[in-house]
């Protein structure tokens, strides 16, 4: 037993890497279909979009890049599916220059599923430098003024989708999918002044701090990490990558917890042995 505990405390990291890899790959190959419960903060985002009158406008800020794709891209797809199903109009953009392609792919792929027309049902503004200055310009001068051309170089002022939704104050809901601190930009320079409703999604790293934003009414709900995306997929009844990933997530978490417990037992046992 003491030999086993010694081995546990000196365990080669590469053994842990292999175990984690197996804990991730096996559930992906052989799904377990573990049931997912929906949290109130995710339901709040869903309910907001669900209760908007059909044809409302949702502004989707896809502020992430490929390094956060596994968590935030499924969220984008799920929110887009929900919006298009409710015949809401969607305006997409990003603050991340390396995330432009992801945002475009999400919008075009999901819009194609629902036979939506570009320029009328959805619009992709793409990326433009400016950060908070861009938000202020969209609020004061208008979305078309901030983005005179869209991601494809087409003029935005004449697009049907921007005839009624000219400024940020006209949008019905803003969903911010953030891999960084852009929620602050949208709140300080957007929601504080133009008073639109805001919800969002974030990576697991930031999820703990976003509960504070929920408490102080920056957002009315949010999806935290891959789990948040899986919960949203459950709500829209379209299980996809996020749901599949939750099996692997659950198994790998259980493995980590087991290793933490064993490692701590080994540590304290060896320490006690060393003190004798």
């Amino acid at each position: 037993m003491s030999g086993f505990l010694k081995k546990m405390s000196d365990l080669d990291k590469r053994v842990i890497f292999v175990l984690i890899s197996l804990a991730v790959i096996i559930p992906l190959l052989y799904p377990l279909f573990i049931e997912i419960n929906v949290n109130p903060e995710v339901k709040a985002v869903y309910d907001t979009i669900e209760n908007l009158p059909n044809g409302s406008t949702v502004f989707l800020a896809m502020d992430f890049d490929p390094s956060s794709k596994p968590e935030l891209y499924p969220m984008a797809e799920a929110v887009l599916r929900h919006c298009f199903r409710k015949n809401h109009k969607v305006i997409g953009m990003t603050f991340w220059v390396t995330g432009v392609g992801l945002g475009e792919k999400a919008l075009t792929d999901i819009a194609k599923e629902y036979n939506k027309e570009y320029g009328t049902d959805y619009l992709y503004l793409g990326w433009k430098a400016g950060g908070y200055a861009l938000v202020i310009q969209m609020g004061e001068e208008g979305i078309a003024a901030a983005f005179p051309v869209d991601h494809y170089g087409r003029e935005t002022a004449s697009m049907p989708i921007l005839q009624k939704i000219t400024h940020l104050k006209n949008i019905d809901y803003l969903v911010e999918l953030a891999a960084g601190a852009s929620i602050g930009t949208w709140y300080y320079y957007g929601k504080m002044k133009y008073k639109f409703k805001m919800g969002g999604g974030c990576t697991g790293v930031m999820a703990a701090s976003w509960y504070n934003l929920l408490k102080i009414d920056w957002i009315n709900g949010f999806m935290g990490g891959l789990r948040g995306a899986a919960e949203y997929e459950k709500l829209i009844d379209k299980k996809s990558k996020a749901t599949r990933g939750m099996d692997a997530q659950s198994v790998s978490h259980m493995l980590i917890i087991a290793m933490i417990i064993l490692g701590n037992i080994a540590y304290f046992a060896n320490r006690a042995k060393g003190n004798k």
Binding site: K13, S67, T98, G180, M192, T203, V205, M206, A208, S209
Partner: protein, 411 residues
């Protein structure tokens, strides 16, 4: 005759009983009091506010109709219908404050004027406009004859943000006061921060082992407080490195930070009397892409195997990637960051961690620079004020007073 009398009495009774019931369906003929139009306060001059007192008119099924005209004599065009049970001054505290009386006044904000009833693109309101009010129960409309007018004007001062102005002013005065105090007396008290002792130990260890010291400034630019604090600490570290005749490597994420760090390290070597030992190539720019930077730093750690890693500044997800690689090479690691999300990783992988404000305090403690020292002291006293407000405010609000909640309300 007797039958006719009975019939007459019956009709009179029926009319008498039914008249209140029928009267309830008709809107009151009394116009609401205090109907006024004024420039909306605290705005940029793009709206007019219409106000009128709540009255017995306000019931389910009753709406007010707002008419507007550019001229006093008309033509009057219907702008909107608002339910009598909605739209009060208390809904717009950013304009009218938090007085309880606001719940007894209706408020409607006019931002545009329709040219005709079907106008889908009304023009923004810019000139003097005249308004009339009417009331409707859905079928009947009764117009009130009072005509009011106003012109929108931009306001220079937003009174709803007065509390923010006062707080910022007091905070600024405190900081300026302490900066001037710090200029006269650089030995203002800052409590000892344990992580700082480890820095000297780290540099000595690196010298003994004959391996370099790796110093990272984080991922933000020079305008960030954490980067400023980091470069301040770098100066002290570089001076010790020069004294011990060791080597320091500073891979940078931002080109401007790189040029500042080169100056800081060069000056540190000169102060230590070792300007010849300074190598500009040791402070270099890699890339300003997050994970490319992390990959490059990992590569440097694996190839050069520094004995000490100092991570001072603001980090994102690459923090654990870099710190874990350092652990794998057996380096002694000290981190200091105000990135709350990354602190857990530094705490588990580094020997010492300066958390949040401790980084700024460490920088002020080491440099004794009046600006940093004064700012820290000013912040401390503001924190003290906030602690008091939280405790007293909670007690007061539990006792039923909304004073403190309203004091910090923002619109």
């Amino acid at each position: 005759m007797h039958n006719m009398f009975k019939f007459f009495v019956l009709v009179t009774v029926i009319l008498f009983v039914s008249s209140p019931i029928m009267a309830q369906d008709k809107p009151s003929l009394t116009p609401p009091e205090g109907f006024t139009a004024l420039d909306t306060p605290n705005d940029i001059g793009n709206s007019i506010s219409l106000l009128w007192q709540a009255s017995a008119n306000d019931k389910e099924g009753i709406s007010y109709i707002i008419y507007a005209s550019p001229l006093e004599d008309g033509p009057w065009l219907e702008q909107d219908r608002v339910l009598s049970t909605l739209g009060f001054k208390s809904d717009a505290p950013q304009y009218f404050g938090l007085s309880e009386e606001n719940e007894t006044w209706h408020f409607y904000e006019v931002t545009s004027i329709k040219k005709d009833p079907t106008d889908k693109n009304p023009l923004p309101i810019t000139a003097t406009t005249y308004f009339k009010l009417a009331i409707s129960n859905g079928t009947d409309v009764i117009e009130f004859h009072s005509i009011v007018s106003a012109a929108p004007e931009g306001n220079w001062f937003d009174t709803s943000k007065l509390n923010v102005l006062i707080f910022v002013s007091i905070f600024s005065i405190l900081i300026l006061y302490f900066i001037s105090l710090a200029r006269k007396n650089p030995n203002l008290f800052i409590r000892h921060i344990p992580g700082l002792d480890a820095i000297e130990e780290t540099i000595g260890r690196a010298t003994e082992m004959g391996r370099p010291i790796l110093y990272l400034n984080g991922l933000l630019d020079m305008s960030s407080l954490s980067t400023i604090a980091s470069t301040s600490i770098l100066g002290k570290v570089a001076r010790k490195v020069a004294n011990y005749d060791s080597q320091i490597m500073v891979p940078c994420y931002d080109p401007i930070v790189m040029s500042v760090c080169q100056e800081v390290v060069k000056e540190a070597y000169a102060e230590a009397g070792r300007p010849d030992a300074f190598k500009e190539d040791n402070i270099f720019f890699i890339t300003n892409d997050q994970f490319a930077y992390a990959a490059a730093v990992d590569g440097i750690i694996m190839r050069h195997k520094p004995a000490a890693n100092l991570f001072m500044g603001y980090y994102y997800a690459e923090s654990l990637l870099i710190a874990e690689t350092g652990v794998a090479t057996g380096a002694m690691q000290i981190a200091g960051t105000d990135a709350i999300t990354q602190l857990p990783f530094f705490i588990t992988t580094c020997d010492y961690t300066l958390m949040g404000e401790e980084l700024y305090a460490a920088s002020a403690y080491l440099s004794r620079e009046p600006l940093q020292l004064g700012s820290l002291k000013g912040q401390d006293y503001s924190k003290g004020f906030i602690i008091l407000v939280l405790i007293i405010g909670t007690i007061a609000s539990t006792a039923g007073s909304a004073f403190f909640i309203n004091l910090f309300r923002t619109f």
